[in-house]
C-alpha cells in the first residue's frame, strides 16, 4: 500500500504571511493532485502535477512535483482568510489502477485576519 505523509498537520498563520505544506512518500506516483476541502463539503481539485520537477502556479498558489515523483509541495504567497481549509494531496497509483487515489491526511490551514 502506498502512503502519503502530509506536514504540517495543522497550520495557523496571519493574513499576508507565506506558507508551504508538504506531501511525501517513499513510493513513486504517476501523478499527484492537490485538493482543498471546506467544512461540510467535498474536496475540490486545485491542480494535477504529472512530470517530475514540474511547477504549476495558480494565482498565489505554487505547486511542485519532486524530480523522483515521490513528493510534492504547495506554497501559498500572501495568504488570505479565504485560503482557510483542509489541503489534501492525493497520488495516482498508475498502471491499471489510475482511478485509485491514495490520499494524505491533510493539512488544516487557518488564516487569521
Amino acid at each position: 500500500t502506498q502512503l502519503l505523509e502530509q506536514s504540517p498537520q495543522f497550520l495557523s498563520i496571519q493574513e499576508g504571511e507565506n506558507l508551504t505544506v508538504y506531501c511525501n512518500s517513499s513510493s513513486v506516483f504517476s501523478s499527484l493532485q492537490w485538493y482543498r476541502q471546506e467544512p461540510g463539503e467535498g474536496p475540490v481539485l486545485l491542480v494535477t502535477v504529472v512530470t517530475g520537477g514540474e511547477v504549476k502556479k495558480l494565482k498565489r498558489l505554487t505547486f511542485q512535483f519532486g524530480d523522483a515523483r515521490k513528493d510534492s509541495s504547495l506554497h501559498i504567497t500572501a495568504a488570505q482568510p479565504g485560503d482557510t481549509g483542509l489541503y489534501l494531496c492525493a497520488g495516482e497509483e498508475g498502471g491499471g489502477s489510475n482511478y485509485k487515489l491514495t490520499f494524505g491526511k491533510g493539512t488544516l490551514l487557518t488564516v487569521n485576519p
Binding site: L4, G40, E41, T48, Y99, K100, L101, K105
Partner: protein, 113 residues
C-alpha cells in the same frame, strides 16, 4: 445544480442497525467512487464503478459493506450491522471516466451510537 448530491447529509443510527447512503452523480459521468473520511484521517477508497464493468470492491473494509449502482447512475452504499468504528463522513465522487477529474459530493456524516 449539476453537482454530485448525497443523501442524507447526516445520519445517526444505533449500533447493529443497517444504513443506506445514496449518491446521485453528475449526469453523464460513467465513473463513480465511494470514499470514507474518518476524523484525523485522509480519504480512504472504498469502491469504484465504471460503466457496465464489474466494480472494484478492493477498498471495502468488511463484508458488512456493499454498494450497487443502478442503471449506471444512482449508487447506494449499504452498511449492515453498523459498528461505532463505522462513524465517518462517506463521500461520493463521479467523473467522465477513470482518468478524469473526480467531482465530490458534500458527503454523508454517519454517527453510530
Amino acid at each position: 445544480g449539476a453537482g454530485v448530491s448525497q443523501s442524507p447529509s447526516n445520519k445517526v443510527t444505533e449500533k447493529g442497525k443497517d444504513v443506506e447512503l445514496r449518491c446521485d452523480p453528475i449526469s453523464g459521468h460513467t465513473a463513480l467512487y465511494w470514499y470514507r473520511q474518518s476524523l484525523g484521517q485522509g480519504l480512504e477508497f472504498l469502491i469504484y464503478f465504471q460503466g457496465n464493468s464489474a466494480p472494484d470492491k478492493s477498498g471495502l473494509p468488511s463484508d458488512r459493506f456493499s454498494a450497487e449502482r443502478t442503471g449506471g447512475s444512482v449508487s447506494t452504499l449499504t452498511i449492515q450491522r453498523t459498528q461505532q468504528e463505522d462513524s465517518a463522513v462517506y463521500l461520493c465522487a463521479s467523473s467522465w471516466g477513470p482518468f478524469n477529474e473526480q467531482f465530490f459530493g458534500p458527503g454523508t456524516r454517519l454517527t453510530v451510537l
